[in-house]
Symmetry: C2
Subunit: 377 residues, 2 copies
Amino acid sequence: MARAISDIQSFQPVARTLMGPGPSDIYPSVLQSLSKPTLGHLDPLFIGMMDEVKQLLQYAFQTENPFTIAVSAPGSAGMEACFVNLVEPGDTVIVCRNGVFGDRMRENVERCGAHAVMVDDAWGDPVNPEKVEAALKAHPEASIVAFVHAETSTGACSDAQALATLAREHGCLTIVDAVTSLGGVPLKVDEWQLDAVYSGSQKCLSCVPGLSPVTFSPRAIEKMQARTHKVQSWFLDQSLVLGYWSGDGKRSYHHTAPVNSLYALHEALLRLYQEGIENAWQRHRTMHQRLKAGLDNLGIGFVVDEPYRLPQLNAVYIPEGVDDAAVRQHLLNTYNLEIGAGLGDLAGKAWRIGLMGYGARDENIALCLKALEEALR
Amino acid sequence: MARAISDIQSFQPVARTLMGPGPSDIYPSVLQSLSKPTLGHLDPLFIGMMDEVKQLLQYAFQTENPFTIAVSAPGSAGMEACFVNLVEPGDTVIVCRNGVFGDRMRENVERCGAHAVMVDDAWGDPVNPEKVEAALKAHPEASIVAFVHAETSTGACSDAQALATLAREHGCLTIVDAVTSLGGVPLKVDEWQLDAVYSGSQKCLSCVPGLSPVTFSPRAIEKMQARTHKVQSWFLDQSLVLGYWSGDGKRSYHHTAPVNSLYALHEALLRLYQEGIENAWQRHRTMHQRLKAGLDNLGIGFVVDEPYRLPQLNAVYIPEGVDDAAVRQHLLNTYNLEIGAGLGDLAGKAWRIGLMGYGARDENIALCLKALEEALR
């Protein structure tokens, strides 16, 4: 029952430990940065900061793509930005689906008036390159291959480099969902020659939710510039947004940037840079091993086979006879600890335990293991 | 020249007084709320807060529309949400254009594959209801009338009630841009029977930029439900978003809400409720009169005729012989005071002085007048 409006008070959230699929635990300095004084979005000081965000994003994505920015909206808008700018009505797009987000890609392709050729793998499996190759051979008219690097719904990591190589051999560009991979596992946009890559602020970057880092290769820009139809979204039309983020000092007005959220992204990316991205990848692997050892002791098994397991997103089977919701509620109420429920095919069957960014540390693992041990007793 | 990435430090913005067209000065308690601990977007505590945001938004919009939410992106995405959900390919939409944002509405209509019938008025004039009536008579096939209530580019206020009445008499729904009007001048969604209304967080609500409050009437929902084409945007498809904001306790996952920004919106709306919306409207009028008296003394005149002048957005002519950029730079560098440049037809000819929300107070006016007096000497 909603309370009367006159009873509403300033909101005071309790402090939770966030070990779900995101948002992850936020770095304290990132949270603090949010409260810094708001600047105008055309203020030279703010524009200078945006240029630094670009540089730091290039580092995070391991790319020199000049067009590397943050979309002013969550990851699903970043996904849509990639599709609406690169796909035109009548195009054929090969879409790999091994979880929730592959299916969302299909929705995007179809809403662009294009044809989605689906390549299906089981939930928990990585994308199978052989199936993708077969689809490419069967559909020489395809112009894009779209896949999820790190499936947040299952915890499976696909071989982005192999898939991108295949796509290129067949004259296709790639659209890559790196929402959960960026900062958590190796993602090398230039070395792997990925074309349009989007991510989210609230996973392994440990920033607040609401922004979507994206990067576009020169090949992707070329395809955008050769479009024969206007991009269907004005807000996400990257040819307009580019003028806004360009570093030439003449900023054309597009929309009002989410100023304070960008302070937070700047700080989060700086933390990643200062740690060193290889160190961050290694820390995620190390913490995953520690969590895994503890889960083994509790007899809890993984959904994904070891070679494809994401260290930052641990999808594990709920032991038989255990009440999914009751356990999660106990963890939340007793320990202020959030772990994630299963999504889609895995609803009620799996938990998703995130070890993302700042959340990938020993105290979180200890708390989670102890709390689970108690809840399962 | 960009600095080396290794030289990048945590960003430390200076405190500015924001008297441009938005973002406006943020309430200190709103800024502080941003740094509160991030909750998961499916956390029951967060869901309860979202329900309160809905209630407070209904108050701000003066509506009982159940579908009253904040789009997780800036005002231009709120605009697009209204158009892509209500307009279908082949539709005819009457679009009133008396500044920048009417033209952006045309872009939205055309990108929906629909036909925009433009009703033009001069920059600085309000929308002329007689012209709208003539367009409605000439285009009986039109299904929507779209107009800007408070033109941020010129400071002109149009008669939303009269325009909506006309639209209804001709069987049309209305899409209303209330980005700059919400909280600053009377806006009565139910009394005026407006159908789809969008706003922004960073104007008279004095919240950080990045969110777009929207409200849809039952008539608008009916039209959405009768659609024959899928909404072209997955991210902005309100039939999907509705499940996410519904207060029935079963929240279906759509996207990850910008949790901390919503804390800020909650606090900003609470401030508006606690002041009382009529008091807020009156404060904007009073402060406008004080600013106007001072500008009169400086010989600075308004772009918009008195009856249509927005108190919160004062577009004034730059006195002859005065260097536009030099004055704004002086204000920024010497006083940390931001006023807005002219946009579009008014670039180089006008300044836009905002008195929005928390920014509409005596100390801001005194600073602005003193600084302008000095700069013009």
